[in-house]
């Protein structure tokens, strides 16, 4: 069977003293959809990019453009392409497995790009052995090699009948989750609130296949552009209503479809905003959910 496209990389994978020839194929592509052009607001013409000397303002030829590292204000060291290349270790084209890590132990935030890792030439036996061994032990392999002019760490994991090698971001490219979330107060939700939220999850639980997802943006943008061309004013949209802490429990109950009447004591005293709340509740539910068809006649009856 012909493999579509050309391999991004060909080399070997080495675990322990075993070496098997393999190839990497990019597993993903990026698709661009809507594109705007940059235009000059003044003239309505398109603009084009030019590279100029910051001091003289004159265009700089491609061959005169070199890499410079800024030491401090306006002081640079020039690095020639050969010097940058010399910083990269010589490639022996071998993905060396450094360690195996449990699949549950993997921090996905490091994931960069996935590649299909396939056996090349006659290496299928060792390949199948590594795949099945990792599958059995529920582990992935951490391996390193020179890829795309950089020493990269990849995570190799079984996928269907093959293996996927995902390049990992370097340590300095990933923000610490702990740091990012440190301002969030320690709140552990328990009791009724947690039960209600779990109930809502149960209602909304299902399956999802990413390949059936449709991007509605283009259509919505087309509408917007049409409205603008027809000279209509574009609607300003009001921000959604945020649930206040004292309304949270009630919002959860309504979302879970639990009757507020099930808790008779406290409601009379203060909580319920508009007293007799069967009507209120069903109205609120109707506004938010799609049970409109059923509740509309009922509501009309009450209203009259």
């Amino acid at each position: 069977m012909a493999v579509p496209g050309r391999a991004q990389w060909k080399g070997y994978i080495r675990f322990g003293e075993v070496t098997a020839p393999v190839a990497l194929y990019t597993a993903t592509s990026t698709s661009e959809r809507i594109s705007f052009h940059t235009v000059n607001r003044e003239t309505g013409n398109r603009v084009r990019r030019e590279f100029v000397d910051s001091a003289t303002g004159k265009p700089v030829e491609k061959e005169d453009q070199v890499k410079g590292y800024e030491l401090d204000n306006d002081r640079y060291v020039v690095l020639e392409p050969e010097e940058v290349a010399a910083a990269v270790p010589e490639s022996d084209k071998t993905l060396r497995v450094q360690a195996f890590i449990s699949c549950d132990d993997i921090d996905k935030v490091y994931f960069d790009r996935p590649y299909y890792l396939t056996p090349d030439k006659m290496g299928t036996e060792a390949y199948a052995l590594l795949r099945d061994g990792m599958h059995k032990k529920k582990v992935a392999a951490i391996a390193q090699t020179v890829l795309f002019r950089r020493m990269r760490t990849v995570l190799v994991r079984t996928h269907e009948k093959g293996l996927i090698a995902t390049t990992l971001n370097f340590d300095y490219e990933v923000r610490s989750a702990k740091e990012a979330f440190k301002e969030i107060p320690e709140i552990k939700i328990k009791g009724e609130m947690l039960d209600l939220a779990k109930h809502i999850i149960g209602i909304k639980k299902g399956t999802f296949s990413a390949d059936e997802f449709d991007d509605r943006y283009e259509a919505a943008l087309a509408e917007l552009i049409k409205a603008k061309m027809e000279g209509k004013t574009l609607p300003k949209r009001a921000p959604p209503k945020v649930s206040k802490p004292n309304e949270l429990l009630e919002a959860l109950r309504q979302s879970a479809g639990i009757k507020a009447a099930a808790e008779p004591k406290r409601r009379a005293s203060k909580a319920a905003p508009k007293g007799r709340s069967k009507a209120t509740r069903s109205a609120a539910a109707k506004a938010k959910t799609k049970t409109a068809a059923k509740s509309a006649p009922a509501q009309r009856r009450r209203a009259s």
Binding site: V78, F100, V109
Partner: protein, 277 residues
Amino acid sequence: MAPPRPYWKGYLKLSLVTCPVSMMPATSESEKVRFHTLNRKTNNRVVSRYVDAETGKEVDEEDEAKGYERGENDFLVIEDEELESVALESARTIDIEKFVSRNTIEWVWLEKPHYLSPSDEVGHEAFSVVRDAMEAEKVVGISRLVLGRRERAVMLEPCGKGIVVWTLRYGDEVRKAENYFGDIGDGDNDPKLMSLVTSLIEERSKPWNPDMVQDPVQEKLKAIIESKRKSAKKGAKPKGKGKDEEPAYTGNVIDLMSALKKSLETKSGGKSRRRIN
């Protein structure tokens, strides 16, 4: 790391519960050794600027606008604020439509991670409810979200006190695995080999550690820059190393068996270093 600026602000919504949130990318380029482009002749920075395609004159930054091409060379200018009124709730609300069991979304779909936090005290509890319930039920949430002028499917996963939001790739962005793996056998492995390989895996298993993703090239570049800074000019070029020869691969079952055995020996005994051919 550079102080993270909120990259997106909006709302997180589960049914009738809504709270204000902010989001930032979980990855950052700010610590990477970055180069600028210089003009070799003058040593000045090279900067890019826009010129009007018709008049050739420089265009001020504030005059740069997004143009939708409604006819040939006929552009309708759309302002960023106007784009915000696009009629999609997902432009600013992450409304969780669905929950799925953890680990049912294949990793190949995961595109870019972001950290989601409550942005206002009013939403702390509501945010925590959504997070803790997902954690308790071992599920992830699925929603739509407009980012970068496209509507994306996103996956929400609790992470410590916060939530990680992954953009998911579109259906046409992931190549079909069977086109690549179709020829691979189902693995009729020799049980002896299997037992050797699983011992090897056990022996070399380690806990995850961020040290596994260090970047030696970046360290070298920093060293080169440092030495250049010191000896302002004397650009002694680092020499390339000798090439390693290409390794031979392990072919048949007998080779495999002896290579695996050797791997186990090398690790424990640490003597035989010989390369197998």
